[in-house]
Symmetry: C2
Subunit: 246 residues, 2 copies
């Protein structure tokens, strides 16, 4: 028995997120089914990040245990032959039996939130970015974002659905870039609360359109109250880019 790690990329548009659930197809479920076909074993993958419905990933991580004779580094290729085109295993390798993708010290996750900022939507961008028709002031968004960097209690940026006691997290980096009509908010940190990146994006969009002053982000943070922040930005703009284990 060995533990195989998968680096998983997917277009989340047509999935009800990562985690298995009764009312729709999920990434986890497709991986389990296809791995069972491949190995003839009962497989249960363990994912690093349970991305929401409609959210994409280029570098989610999952592990599973198997007796399959397929060499660990060939598992990616073998599994890709069975997967639909919207899920791709980028790489596979072997990890120690006790290696768990969620319980590792020194993890760094990188997300990108993509905005298409133009007068009219672009049908070739609609699946992978959020359309904002109001002109966004990127410089103001950067000023607003600067208040979020560092260790803070992000209770205002956590969806009320969750019941985590500790809402202190560290945002290591937020960079906002603009290329033509594409604005990308890149966020890196050790861990994020439920919907945190999307609430950050929703809040910075409000700053960008002049609805909030940049300083308002500091007030929202200090309020520690979800209702203070902007709306949760839609899922299609979010991509889990990478999980780095050190």
């Amino acid at each position: 028995m060995r533990r195989i790690r998968l680096f998983v990329a997917y277009d989340g548009t047509d999935y009800c997120g990562w985690q298995i659930q009764p009312n729709g197809i999920t990434i986890e479920e497709v991986l389990n089914t296809k791995l069972q076909k491949l190995t003839k074993e009962e497989i249960r993958v363990i994912g690093a990040s349970r991305t929401d419905s409609g959210v994409h990933a280029l570098g989610n991580v999952a592990v599973f245990d198997t007796d399959s004779p397929i060499p660990p580094d060939r598992m990616a290729y073998a599994l890709n032959q069975k997967l639909p085109a919207d899920i791709v295993i980028v790489k596979s390798d072997e990890v120690p039996q006790d290696w768990h993708p969620r319980y590792q010290d020194q993890v760094r996750k990188i997300y990108e939130y993509h905005i298409y900022n133009a007068a009219v939507p672009n049908p070739l961008k609609r699946r992978y970015s959020t359309f904002v028709s109001f002109p966004l002031d990127v410089e103001e968004m950067r000023r607003g974002a600067s208040y979020l960097i560092g260790e803070h209690d992000f209770a205002s940026f956590c969806n009320v659905r969750t019941n985590v006691e500790d809402t202190v997290r560290t945002v290591e980096e937020i960079t906002i870039t603009k290329e033509g009509q594409d604005i990308t908010i890149r966020v890196a940190g050790g861990g994020f609360l439920y919907n945190m990146v999307r609430i950050i994006a929703g809040t910075l969009i409000r700053v960008g359109r002049g609805f909030y002053a940049p300083e308002k982000v500091k007030e929202i943070l200090e309020a520690k109250e979800r209702t203070e922040a902007g709306v949760t930005a839609p899922p299609e703009g979010l991509v889990l880019m990478k999980i780095e284990y050190h």
Copy 2:
């Protein structure tokens, strides 16, 4: 009665091309149906470019005649309310009654062909680019492309299905750019033969992987024989970017 011009963008993935046909839904058909709902008139749009099944556009052009009181420049907005998310009217205006989108002097069309060149496919690129796993040498592709610039008989780059007598066309410009793993072939010219841009792309991909020497492109051109050129590259990589009328 006045003639309205539409600048049309669409994700061609789920359509059987522009032109109405019995076996599947097309862009032309959707526009006619939605315009009829909007104006309560029997509408028949005339398109500038009959893009193939799966091909995208950011700037196709169409006209139609109407007695609708909707101001010409507001037609885009009104129609977008009725269209599915994968078809967007970027702009609308009024043109003279006899203005025809296909019969204009001094037209310039710009196409882009997108290639994702990496070891493993990217599920977020698969709808709008062609995946090529062999490393492509962009410098060699540029050398190959240089033979196509200017006025030539492009019979070798025309799908045999068509019966045009005159296969002489002018390619004004081909530029090939690479950003990360994305390669873009941008082609501009007065007019193109059926499948010409996709056959150019398919041929240049062969050059890029070292299957053809760049000089082979010159030989293919001189052979005036379709079977000499590379395969027609798949539709998902192609975008009709713009039609310029001078």
